[in-house]
Symmetry: C2
Subunit: 351 residues, 2 copies
């Protein structure tokens, strides 16, 4: 019996609804599998926790988390009560950074039974490899002067190491897929970081002679995700560009509510973290109608990470069946609740 210890952080808003639903599914997966077991422990770190304790997580939070095989997170943020900068950088981005989860992988594919917002959706199946540790998300920068003369400077920092790591990850992944990597650049407008990005890409691609490559500026690429998503396989992108592309990926699938993600620690020193692309959606929290598929698909990515690939595939297949059968939440045109969708998935897994 293989046992995986998983730290659970439901976080804020609908995170508190979709995480239990996905855990229900995850435990059913273990039951059906027979040879694996998930030992879970829940941590209440969130904006509510911040209001009570003045911090987003315990002081020894990272020490505690590092002993787990993985972290399974819902969503962080509730700007009505805690500024985003405080909540996100105090929990979500803190974990990404401290645990050197330097790669964020996010798939998008045509999902059975889900009406795509595209009129003529071709059978797309792509994976965005997002640099997750640096780039435009840098704390370097500041302000000078006051009032009418105020200037804010934001430094985007691209290291050779970080850039190359993301690219190698993308090329290695492409080897197991359709063998094509697209680089998201903007070197025609952003003249220091992006030409550097291009140089590293040109260097790395030489080590992968069997992989086809293409390069697109982010503006065109965003448009191509709408006009011809089926032409992409693996896309490697900076922190910001990956963030934008993967929300577009969610949109073309039919709902950001189904898009999953994995924050991958690539040096084996720390746990990886699995969290859906969507946020805490305070506007629909409490109604029981949040789409659990993003969190459940995220669980599938965690299974892949553990090497339980077959089980992960079975899970995603069942999710697509349930969606196709019309058992779905309102955001994708159904009237089922969060719990009902998860229950149905569990039921079918057991069949």
């Amino acid at each position: 019996m293989k046992k995986y210890n998983i730290a659970i952080i439901p976080g804020d808003g609908i995170g508190k609804e979709v995480v239990p639903a996905a855990l229900n599914v995850l435990h059913t997966v273990a039951e059906v599998h027979g040879g694996i077991q998930f030992e879970t422990k829940e941590f209440p770190w969130s904006c509510d926790y911040y209001l009570e304790h003045g911090k987003m997580m315990d002081d020894d939070g990272l020490e505690i988390l590092r002993n787990y095989h993985a972290i399974f997170l819902g969503a962080v943020g509730n700007p009505a009560i805690v500024p985003d900068h405080v909540s996100l950088w105090g929990l979500l981005i803190k974990i990404r950074r401290e645990f050197e989860q330097s790669i964020n992988i996010r798939p998008a594919k045509l999902f059975s039974g889900l009406p795509s917002p595209l009129a003529n959706p071709k059978d797309f199946d792509l994976m965005v490899v997002r640099e997750n540790s640096e780039g435009e998300y840098s704390e370097a920068g500041g302000r000078i002067h006051k009032g009418e003369d105020e200037v804010a400077i934001q430094n985007a920092v691209f290291t050779k190491k970080g850039t190359e790591r993301a690219m190698r990850y993308a090329f290695d992944l492409a080897k197991t897929r359709k063998g094509h990597v697209t680089s998201a650049t903007k070197s025609n407008g952003i003249v220091h970081s992006m030409p550097f990005w291009d140089e590293v890409f040109n260097e790395v691609k030489n080590d992968y002679p069997d992989i086809k490559t293409s390069v697109n500026h982010i503006d065109a690429l965003a448009a191509f995700f709408i006009s011809k998503p089926q032409t992409f396989d693996v896309i490697v992108a900076s922190n910001l560009f990956g963030d934008i592309l993967t929300d577009i990926g969610g949109a073309i699938m039919g709902s950001i509510g189904i898009a999953p993600a994995g924050n991958i620690n690539t040096n084996g020193k720390y746990p990886s973290m699995f969290e859906p692309v969507h946020g805490s959606a305070p506007d629909i929290y409490g109604k029981g109608i949040a789409n659990p598929i993003g969190q459940i698909w995220t669980a599938k990515m965690m299974l892949d990470h553990f090497g339980e690939v077959e089980m992960g595939e079975r899970l995603l297949q069942v999710v697509e069946e349930v969606t196709a059968a019309g058992i779905k939440t309102p955001d994708i045109g159904g009237n089922a609740t969060t719990v009902e969708v998860a229950e149905e998935i569990c039921k079918r897994l057991k069949q």
Copy 2:
């Protein structure tokens, strides 16, 4: 008789095809109108020009251009022969900067007779106001170290003046439209420039109590352009975010080939420049099939700028009629040539 002097820069690739087509239309507009006249002079500045002269434009190019009422530009760039940084920053961005064209306005709307790639396109009609002079497109930055240790730093520079100017432009524009401004931010991940952007937005909006506002992070906003574009009126965005959103705007209209733009000088010191959103498309250049609508709609924006609003509206109406009649280029599902589309528009304008 009102006379407008216009500097014409066809530039590279399909710019050399769509600009003559649009000029044909523009002169027909003048003829039909009766009370206006366009005096045009063409400048050969382009990548070809660079190969011959070692520069993208004449040394006194800016001096010459500043005497015109407007600049009408096709597309710049041919990376196969001149690096983008050289061509774009030596001509396109140079003119934007030197002539303080600090605002770039770019509409997107559901276009009659054009199959939208969206399955259920609602009647959207939005305008992106893009900051066009600073932000992420800054020449500040550089590199340190070599080889495995190399680091590239890119400074994004946001001034109060530049940020406020774009926002006020957006609010003033919203007054003449549906009265709603959306701010494109990313202050949850980009922690110096974007919180500054938010602060300026909050300050400026106080001066426009009648305008409704909303704020979206760029990732969500990009997704909303696909899932609910009809909910937007005016969107104010940084240089980079505006760049990305307007290509998405082109995509949801059905083709980037129809999207127009105006680079607006707001202090009255220099001419404004009108250029479509699309690039020089070297891959289709020479085939005579480039879509001229982007350039022609751009001519309409120039007419608006001159105060010839009625004539501009008539022109766009005829363009939509011609598209609806199926006389269109291959990118939007027809088999007409660039010249045929323009001819048909001229013919109908005269009727």
